[in-house]
Symmetry: C2
DNA sequence: CGGACCGTTCGAATAGCGGGAACAGGCTTT
DNA sequence: AAAGCCTGTTCCCGCTATTCGAACGGTCCG
């Protein structure tokens, strides 16, 4: 498990995914457009596009290529096979019904938080998150709950790798401040997010840990700042959340 | 738009996706396992795996590699950007609430049907379909509804490409029989599925067409055969469905 | 009618992919 | 303990397959 050994990547594969990324970002792109963006010969891009299209990974509409629904198949497969999904999903639905707010299940992967499932109550606001979204762990409640319950060396490594970019002016960007913050989260067992990712939005997040105590994901409740405050925010929601994550942890251990 | 011109695929990219496919199918695989399966040298697989892992597309857990949630990000992106999704989604939810059965939104891509969104009523059975699932168009109600409303040359081409494989003993496998069947669907505007994809499951599907009358997708209602029969199946559900698809078509035209 | 742009095809040169052999480490077996 | 066998990993070399640029054949626009 060598960490950062000098490994030479397969460049052809990289360009293939570069093309996919450009097509994704542009929400459909043409051959010359892609070639210009990536500074490749048109013929090269053409051959790649045709290869990906033959595999069904890109779809050609006229002269523009789009990403195909094969990625949806792959993605849903990943989600369904994840240990947390089956167990956490019903709990997330339950919490959404009880709190009438937006509830998310987030997992950690490669040092970032990934939203794998969300449910909303009747009166919940539409958050800006969506399924599959990747967010730096220090920027939101669920992420901080996860980060606080990782081994120290992993925490430091993640901070080294991604830094502490700000999402709003409330986002924690100072490393020492974050370390203290994480210590507090570790002590009480859950995390708050007060407009640190979206202005006007508060959230509470609690970690889901495995047998050895390491976080593998988290569940969070998010809602408008003027509704999530006072005892509801500091007492009631944490209680609900901890009850849910505790149950999830038990179910995880017996599956 | 040359159809089947002699184009040489980029083989390196193909092997990369072969590896991804093996990892997906095996639900996590090790280097030697993949190498054996694809008859490649261990060193080759290793280099590819490390490349994909560096890009975040594979995740390494110990010595086994898994597909990462990046595919979820790509996949959800594809779905959200699809014209039909935003428009059809609320209608699908509505139909599920009204009928108390499983309702699916299916789109056509590359000649196959892709389930992009599903909603279920309280009493609906769990169908065997899942988001992202790809099904041959002749095998189910939504697919037949789409197939019937494609240009003739596309229909023939799709049948040529994929054949008429059976899912149950009721699946239509005779080409002439299917042609007649499609003609009937075209006349009345919607399709039935009586245990043609899953034994014990019936369904009704209606196409969503664009301005020129070509189907771009379909919506279907599915449920147990003993519940979906008689006038409910032949009158009420088709009415509901046509009302919904009609509305979707109008909304599509004005977006 | 002509120019400018597109996607597409072709051939040729070389960069980089793939393979095999050797290494290091962990686990089981003797 | 130690020998054996299985990993994943690294290295380097040869040959193939990728890349590029130029030329072709469309189509759209002026």
């Amino acid at each position: 498990m060598a960490s950062d050994s000098r490994h030479r990547p397969v460049e052809t594969v990289e360009t293939a995914f570069d093309i996919v990324d450009v097509v994704k970002a542009a929400d459909g792109a043409r051959i010359t457009e892609i070639a210009a963006e990536l500074e490749l010969a048109k013929s090269t891009v053409h051959r790649h596009a045709k290869t990906l299209e033959a595999r069904g990974l890109l779809v050609q509409e006229g002269d523009t290529y789009r990403i195909s629904t094969w990625f949806l198949d792959y993605g849903i497969h990943v989600r369904n096979r994840h240990r947390l999904y089956d167990v956490a999903r019903p709990k997330v639905d339950e919490l959404a019904a009880e709190t009438d707010e937006k509830v998310w299940c987030v997992i950690e992967e490669h040092g970032v938080g990934v939203h794998i499932y969300g449910a909303q109550g009747r009166h919940s606001v539409k958050t800006h998150a969506r399924i599959g979204q990747r967010t730096h762990l220090h920027q939101f409640a669920a992420g901080k709950a996860i980060l606080a319950h990782l081994p120290d060396e992993r925490i430091e490594r993640i901070l080294d790798d991604y830094g502490l970019s700000a999402q709003t002016d409330r986002t924690i960007t100072d490393r020492d401040e974050l370390r203290e913050h994480l210590e507090t989260i570790r002590e009480r067992g859950y995390a708050f997010n007060r407009e640190e990712s979206v202005i006007g939005v508060h959230a509470v997040g609690a970690p889901v840990r495995n047998e050895s105590g390491t976080a593998i994901g988290a569940i969070s409740v998010a809602g408008p700042a003027n509704r999530l405050r006072g005892d509801l925010m500091t007492e009631d929601l944490p209680d609900l959340l901890l009850g849910a994550t505790n149950e999830v942890e038990v179910n995880l251990a017996h599956s």
